[in-house]
Structure formats: C-alpha cells, structure tokens
C-alpha cells in the first residue's frame, strides 16, 4: 500500500495511510493535500510532466499503479466512441481486427505515442459511424436499465427476508418473556408446592423450544438444487453392464543385453559393498548409502555387455 509516496510531499503518505492518492489525465499521482495545495496557488501544472491540469480532472486512485488508472480513463473515453458489439460484424476475423484497432488506439494514447495521429483517427471514425454509435448507445442504456432492475429486485428480496427474521426473533423473545411472567404469577398465587410449579414451567419451556425449531425447519423445499422438482420420478435408462477382463499385473521385463545384475538389497550379503567407499555420516543423513553407488556401477558394467553386433 505504501510503496509509493506522494511525489511532492513525500513523507505524508507514509505517515498517514488513510491519505488517498489522486490520479489525473497525465498518469501521475498526487495525494489529496497536495492537490489542494497545488490549486490554492492558482497554478495548474503536473509536478512531473508539466501538463496543464484542472482540479476536476483528479480522480481517486483505484489501482496501485497510476498508469493503470490512466489507461482505464482513456479506455472509457475510447469505448464511448468505439462501441460496436460482436453482432455488428459479419465474421469473427473482422471483429478481431476491430478490437485490435481499439487496443492500438488505447495503447498509443496511454503511452503518448502519436497522440495527434490517433486523435485524428478517432475523429474520423466518429464522423463516419455517427448513427451506429448512437444506436449502440441506446442499446447499452437499455441493457444497463435491465441489469439495474434485476439488482433492485434482488435487494428488495434481501430486505424482506431480513425483516422477516427480525420479526420472528421478536416474537420468540416475547413468548419467552410471557412464560416467565406466567411462572412468577403462579408462584405467587397458587398453593401447589414450588418444585412442581418449576417442573411444569420447564416442560412448557421445552415445548416452546421444539415448536420454534420446527418452525425454522418449515422452509419448504420444493426443488432440489439441480432444479428437478421434488416428488418427480426420474426414469433412468437401464445402465448397460460392462464386462471387462480383470487386470492382471505383469512385471515389466527389460532386456539389458548383459548378465543379470544382483538386487540392491543383496549387494551387502554378496560382498560387493566391501569394495566400495563406505558412506560417511553426512552422506547417510541425506539418505545415501554405499549400495546405491555400487548398484549403479554394476548395472552400468553389465548393461549391453552381450550386445549383438552386426
């Protein structure tokens, strides 16, 4: 978070992590207080690149790298003009070419390459495709509205559910209070001994609890999570029975073209290990033992010894 300080006041960012960084159109950052400072004095130039700025052009930085913010801004502007969609094109190739041109433009503007030329291209495009742009804008707004409606519905649903649970809790609390009050009243009034009264009260409380539990579980499930409604019988096709041969393990046999090599475990018994350098404690700690090296040497010595020649 603090890997970049404000380029002007440098220290303030580190001292005050809640201080926000603002980005402007040239892609350089300034913390809030520096922005205010800069426009108090009436001058409006960026500290690092000296481009003239307006205070309104500063937006709160969303990304760590200011260049990304700059690109996001540029992209929004470009896409307002270049707003064709994939069904506007006859084939995939054209759509991809169009997208690539858009990326070129964004890239050029972000990295300040050929800014003039790019702006001219954009203007030319805007002039040519004015009506298409308008149409697409209209479409976009319609879609956005639909999305917003859906969101609203969801929110309302959430609200309702919250209210309901609240009310439930309230009712339960009240019920409990009532039963307690009833117990106290009876203790005062009746002539039955206190222990029996308490037992009765406990019984009633237990009953209430079970009632509450049952109510909670009354959420009727009518459909399974996969969407199949409950209670429907799904007819399955009979599964064909697959008969296969049981797998039988055959140990692999590798032809070494040489005499047989003794097993690793038997090397010690056969006396091979006497002729190999014994493993030091350091080697053994890592899992090495002299049998490994010996076995490898013997394998190499015997491999291919009887290799058939032409």
């Amino acid at each position: 978070m603090d890997d970049q300080g404000c380029p002007r006041c440098k220290t303030t960012k580190y001292r005050n992590p809640s201080l926000k960084l603002m980005v402007n159109v040239c892609g350089h950052t300034l913390c809030e207080s520096c922005v205010d400072m800069l426009f108090v004095r009436g001058s409006g130039n960026c500290v690092q690149c000296d481009t003239p700025l307006r205070k309104s052009n500063f937006r709160v930085q969303l990304f760590e790298d200011p260049a990304v913010d700059k690109e996001v801004e540029i992209r929004k502007k470009v896409l307002k003009i270049y707003n064709k969609r994939d069904f506007d094109f006859s084939n995939l190739r054209e759509y991809n070419d169009y997208l690539e041109r858009v990326e070129e433009i964004v890239y050029n503007l972000t990295n300040n390459l050929e800014v003039e030329g790019t702006k001219q291209i954009m203007e030319a495009y805007q002039r040519e495709n004015r009506d298409i742009i308008q149409k697409n804008k209209a479409k976009l707004t319609r879609e956005q509205e639909e999305l917003e409606e859906l969101l609203l519905l969801e929110q309302q649903g959430n609200e309702q559910r919250r209210l309901e649970t609240l009310q439930e809790e309230q009712r339960q609390l009240q019920a409990k209070r009532k039963s307690k009050q009833a117990l106290l009243d009876e203790l005062e009034r009746s002539h039955v001994p206190a222990t029996i009264l308490l037992a009765q009260h406990k019984d009633r409380a237990a009953q209430l609890e079970t009632q509450i539990e049952k109510q909670k579980q009354v959420v009727k499930t009518t459909i399974f999570s996969t969407g199949i409604p409950m209670g429907q019988t799904v007819s399955l096709l009979t599964v064909t029975r697959l008969e296969e041969v049981l797998y039988h393990y055959q140990p692999i046999h590798i032809h070494t073209y040489g005499p047989p090599v003794p097993e690793l475990e038997q090397l010690g018994r056969l006396g091979y290990l006497n002729h190999v350098r014994t493993a030091q404690p350091q080697d053994m700690a890592g899992g090495y033992n002299s049998g490994l090296a010996c076995h490898r040497a013997i394998q190499d010595a015997f491999s291919g010894l009887f290799h058939p020649l032409g």
């Binding site: 005499p259 002729h275 190499d300 290799h307």
Partner: protein, 323 residues
C-alpha cells in the same frame, strides 16, 4: 542405462564402413552445395576430400583432448569423454568445411560441462583460453553461444552419452568380489585408464557399448601384465555354456583393439597443408548464415537480419597452442 538409451538406438552403428559412408556423404553434400552455388573460385581442388577432412578431424580432436586436460578446475573424465563424443557425432553428419572445428570443439566442451553437471560458468570457461585477451575471450564466448543450439540440433537432441568409465569401475568392483583369482585388480587401474583415454580417440564409442569397451580395457591390461583372466568371462559371466555370445565378445574385443592400433596421430606437415586449405575455404566461401541470432525476444518488427560477412576466426589456432 545404456540398454534403453538413445545412444544405443541411434548412435551405435554396425561397422566402420557405415561410419565412413556417413562421413563421405556429409563431405559430398557440402561439396555439391558449394559447386552448385556458383561462387567464383570454387572448384574441386579447393575443397577438401573426405580423407583430408579425416586427418584434420583427428588433429582437432587431439587439441580438444589437450584443452580438456589443461582445463582448470580439473575436468572429470566423463565430461572429457562426452565432449569428444559430441565432436565425433557432430562431424559424422557435417563437413569440416561448413563449420570450423576450432569453434565446434569449444562448444562441445562447454555443452558437455553443462550436460554432465560439471558446473563451470561461461566466464570461467573462456578464462581457460589463456592466450586470449579479455576481448578475445568475449568474442570466443559469443561464438560459443551462437553455435550452441546448432550443435544440440545436430546431435538430434540426444545429449546423454554413456562413457566407459563407470562400467570400468563396476567391473573392477565385480572382479574384486567374485573373482579372487586376480589378486590385485587395483594395479591394473593405471593401464586401464590409459587404454580408455586412447580408445576415446577412435571410433569405438560409436560402434560398441561402453561396457564392452571397459571389458576390453581390463582384459587387455591384464594380459599385458601377464595375468590370465579367461575364466572371468566363462565362470563369472556365466558364459561357459553360451559359446556363441562368448565368441561374439572376443570378436568385439579384437575389433576394438585393432581400431586402437590403427589410430595414429596425424602428421604435422599433412595437417598444415590441409589446414591452409580449410582456412581458405572458410575465409572465401563460408557466409555466416547463422547471424539470425535471437538475442532475447526483441519486438517482432526488429528481427536483426543483417548478414554479417565477418570472418569467424577472430581468434586463431595458435591461441589454443600450449594451453
């Protein structure tokens, strides 16, 4: 293990004739390519013949061996064996005229260090070229890195080489355990080592499994020392009944020994004559087609494709002398 290795499948040939054939074909291919390219000055007399290439090959192989022996830190024998094997396999399918052996031999050593996990940094490696200045070492390093991928490609990416050194150790252990008739196998070690070094300079690595070469080495040294080891093969290896395999073993050993006898160090005057020819071929005709070096992933717009007509030999043979 050798019996399932790529060395057995792809790089073990039946007889010396097939090897000769391959080298001859590589030479012919390059000659035809040069003659067909129509460059001025190309003629049959200027290009090297297969047997001339052979002489030069042996010369450079010896240089490689000397370079590896003089290497600091001390190079393990398996690394040396692997490097020489790479050199040999490379020139089985390529002509010396196309790629200068001086460069290839250093790359073989470098690659072999990497493959055999003998960790040498590249600066340390070129530091062993003591005749060079630092700039010369830099250039050598650049060349090594340029051709490394080519070498791996020509080896068909089969980088694991089984040398006879570990089988030799294994056989010694086995002899000590199961063959008490031979009293002191350790006494044989020095001459066995000697034998194995000489064997790497022959074609045996491409013809026989390393365990057979090791066996030959041991039996040979034993017989040189006057000790008889006949019963080792028959008794311990269980070959008493299997006459056929026994005969084949003896045959193989005989062939290895004859290959060793045939090997001779190339004569200096021949070498110099052919070297002059080789240098001329390289200077005149070889255009550096390997300059499309991918220096990291540059932008695709700027792939460097300048054909550098520079000479490869910024450092000469004499720099490798008396290493």
């Amino acid at each position: 293990m050798f019996h399932i290795s790529s060395q057995k499948k792809y790089w073990t040939f039946d007889n010396e004739e097939s090897l000769e054939q391959l080298r001859y074909e590589a030479n012919q291919k390059y000659r035809n390519k040069m003659l067909a390219s129509g460059k001025p000055g190309v003629s049959d007399a200027v290009l090297l013949e297969a047997h001339e290439e052979n002489v030069l090959f042996r010369h450079y192989e010896k240089r490689l061996l000397d370079f590896c022996n003089a290497f600091k830190p001390v190079m393990p024998k398996s690394v040396v064996g692997t490097a020489i094997m790479y050199f040999r396999r490379f020139y089985l399918n390529n002509s010396l005229m196309e790629y200068h052996p001086r460069t290839i031999m250093l790359i073989c050593a470098y690659l072999s260090c990497k493959v055999d996990e003998f960790n040498v940094s590249s600066t340390q490696f070129v530091g062993n070229l003591v005749q060079e200045s630092a700039a010369g070492q830099e250039r050598a390093l650049e060349q090594i890195l340029e051709y490394e991928l080519l070498l791996i490609q020509q080896l068909n990416f089969h980088l694991v080489v089984h040398t006879p050194y570990r089988p030799m150790e294994g056989l010694l252990i086995d002899i000590k355990t199961r063959y008490p008739l031979l009293e002191n196998p350790e006494s044989l070690r020095k001459s066995v080592d000697d034998f194995l070094t000489r064997v790497t300079l022959t074609d045996s690595g491409l013809l026989f499994p390393p365990s057979q070469i090791a066996m030959t080495a041991i039996l040979n040294s034993a017989s040189r020392a006057g000790l008889s080891m006949e019963s080792y093969l028959t008794e311990c290896m269980g070959l008493k009944e299997d006459k056929e395999t026994l005969l084949k073993m003896y045959d193989a050993m005989r062939r290895i020994k004859s290959l060793m006898k045939k090997y001779e160090l190339p004569k200096p005057d021949e070498v110099n004559a052919y070297k002059v020819k080789l240098e001329r071929v390289h200077a005149d005709f070889v255009t550096n087609s390997n300059t499309k070096r991918k220096r990291g992933y540059e932008d695709d717009d700027h792939v460097a494709k300048e054909p550098r007509m520079t000479e490869e030999e910024e450092w000469t043979d004499e720099d490798l002398d008396d290493l």
